[in-house]
């Protein structure tokens, strides 16, 4: 774990908790979403398979938020994170 990096919390939805050691919140370090999720998937490879379609592409039905903002409005996987940021993984759902 790089000593200069930032620690952020990640909220895990119910459906993915079995692949995340049963945790609902985990903490990882990194300067970007890519790095933080990289840490997550290195520790929990089964979770990684569900999150990512390819190394550079999230699964189509996974939405990732940094402090309530969808990363597709930011810099996607390259979105920068800072200490204390909260990352949420949320499945897309319908309605109206």
């Amino acid at each position: 774990m790089p000593t200069t990096a930032n620690t952020v919390t990640i909220r895990i939805p119910t459906a993915l908790r079995p692949q995340a050691g049963g945790n609902d919140v985990v903490s990882f370090s990194g300067a970007s979403i890519r790095e933080v999720l990289g840490g997550l998937t290195t520790q929990y490879p089964e979770l990684g398979k569900r999150l990512f379609k390819t190394q550079d592409e999230l699964n189509r039905f996974i939405n990732v938020y940094v402090n309530d903002e969808d990363i597709r409005f930011l810099d996607n996987l390259d979105t920068a994170v800072k200490p204390g940021d909260e990352v949420s993984i949320v499945p897309a759902i319908a309605g109206g």
Binding site: A15, R72, I93, A94, G95, G96
Partner: protein, 422 residues
């Protein structure tokens, strides 16, 4: 008789039992109810449907419930109107309006999905139901929950129209206003469904809820005399109804109830929130989410969960998409009212305005059958029509004043007729 087989992931086809479920565990893909059409063929017939109640439950055999309907017993079976005056105005031969602005009991297409979802909620034994809503769904959940004796929580964006607030609060649900847009509300609701053992109709009852939307399509086909319109224009918000109207058409084709005339599906969105239409126009498989900015609040969903399937169905069916500005939406609301006597909300104005664009651009040929799906009622959103009409005259209760007014009106009409003729 139930022809339900299982829940099946639309992506990886993993099967799950019939249970409250939001998404597939493997890939977060949406799960859908799978039916045994082999078994249904020859058993679900035109006659068996025609013998059913005058409600959406006449299609019960193709809906995912086990016992008898427990909610929305009078919902659905709304009018399909042959809109000849509007057709003449638009220069098309055969135009239909499927009018869910009259749906029972809360005047939108949502009474269909909620009827099925709450029946399912009762079958599963839930005592609390909820939803994330732009208004119409909240009305429907609140009303059906009141009638069924269930507790209701409805989560809405903080800036809904006042008329929409009254239309849900009157039924006594717990209403929670959330700072942000619908997509923020939706995200919170998916976390709520994770934590509380409630039936959130568009989250953990979504597979059942969405099947209810098929009844809009079933009715179009039956009411056209067991035929399909060649072109169907449908509003897109979260993306539920368009793929389900398509599924309804395909089920009727599969069961031999209608001929396959290769029905084409068209997506309608407001220009201020058109992620799906943009993707269709640009030939992309995935949409980019947007921050909605439109008067059509009931369809202002910038991150439509089923948007991907809308794009797929539109493309596979040979249809297209269009989006319309707020001004075009208002004009279309007035046009529908003036020609057919139907007052729809901005979502309906959007759908008609987009249909007009698709006709004018030649995407929809003028000599083939067209159905425009109107999904909500204009009396819920009167605010958007403010300033659209000339001031109403006030007179004393005297016959002379009334006669003078009628003379003025006739004079004005004469002048405007002359100017049209000259």
């Amino acid at each position: 008789m139930s022809y339900v087989k299982a829940l099946r992931c639309k992506e990886c086809e993993a099967l799950y039992p019939i249970e409250p479920r939001t998404v597939c565990d493997h890939d977060f893909g949406p799960v859908e109810v799978a039916f045994d059409y082999e078994k249904a063929r020859g058993r679900v017939t035109r006659a068996s449907i025609e013998g059913g109640p005058r409600s959406l439950w006449r299609y019960k055999d193709l809906l995912p419930i086990e016992g008898q309907p427990r909610a929305g017993l009078r919902s659905g079976f709304t009018p399909l109107i042959r809109a000849d005056k509007l057709a003449a105005e638009l220069g098309v031969k055969e135009l239909y309006i499927k009018d869910d602005s009259t749906n029972y009991p809360t005047f939108s297409y949502k009474d269909r999905v909620v009827a099925v979802a709450l029946t399912k909620a009762i079958e599963f034994g839930f005592d609390t139901v909820g939803c994330a809503s732009t208004g119409n769904l909240a009305h429907s959940v609140a009303a059906h929950a009141a009638a069924a004796g269930l507790r209701a929580f409805v989560m809405i964006p903080h800036d809904l129209e006042e008329g929409k607030m009254v239309g849900m609060s009157v039924f006594g649900p717990r209403v929670v206003k959330i700072r942000g847009n619908y997509d923020d509300v939706n995200r919170l609701c998916s976390q709520i469904a994770d934590k509380y053992n409630w039936a959130i109709v568009n989250v953990n009852l979504r597979p059942f809820y969405t099947e209810g939307a098929k009844t809009h399509g079933f009715e179009i086909a039956e009411q056209m005399g067991w035929k399909l319109p060649r072109h169907t224009v449908v509003p897109v918000a979260g993306g539920t109804i368009l793929p389900k109207v398509w599924k309804a058409y395909q089920e009727f084709i599969t069961l031999g109830l209608v001929e396959d005339n290769k029905p084409a599906m068209y997506a309608a969105q407001a220009a201020g929130c058109n992620p799906v239409v943009q993707a269709i126009e640009q030939g992309l498989d995935l949409f980019k989410p947007q921050k909605p900015q439109t008067i059509a609040k009931s369809i202002a969903i910038g991150n439509p969960a089923d948007g991907y399937y809308v794009i797929k169905v539109v493309r596979e069916s040979g249809g297209h998409g269009a989006s319309s500005s707020d001004a075009e939406i208002i004009d279309a609301i007035k046009l529908l009212a003036r020609t057919e006597g139907i007052f729809t909300e901005p979502a309906g104005g959007t759908t008609l305005a987009c249909a007009i664009k698709l006709i004018q651009s030649g995407r929809i040929p003028r000599d083939e059958s067209i159905c425009v799906c109107i999904t909500g009622n204009g009396l819920k959103t009167v605010e958007v029509m403010a300033g659209q009409f000339t001031a109403t005259p006030v007179i004393n209760a005297k016959m002379t004043e009334f006669e003078q007014l009628v003379n003025e009106i006739n004079e004005t009409a004469k002048t405007s007729t002359q100017s049209v003729n000259s």
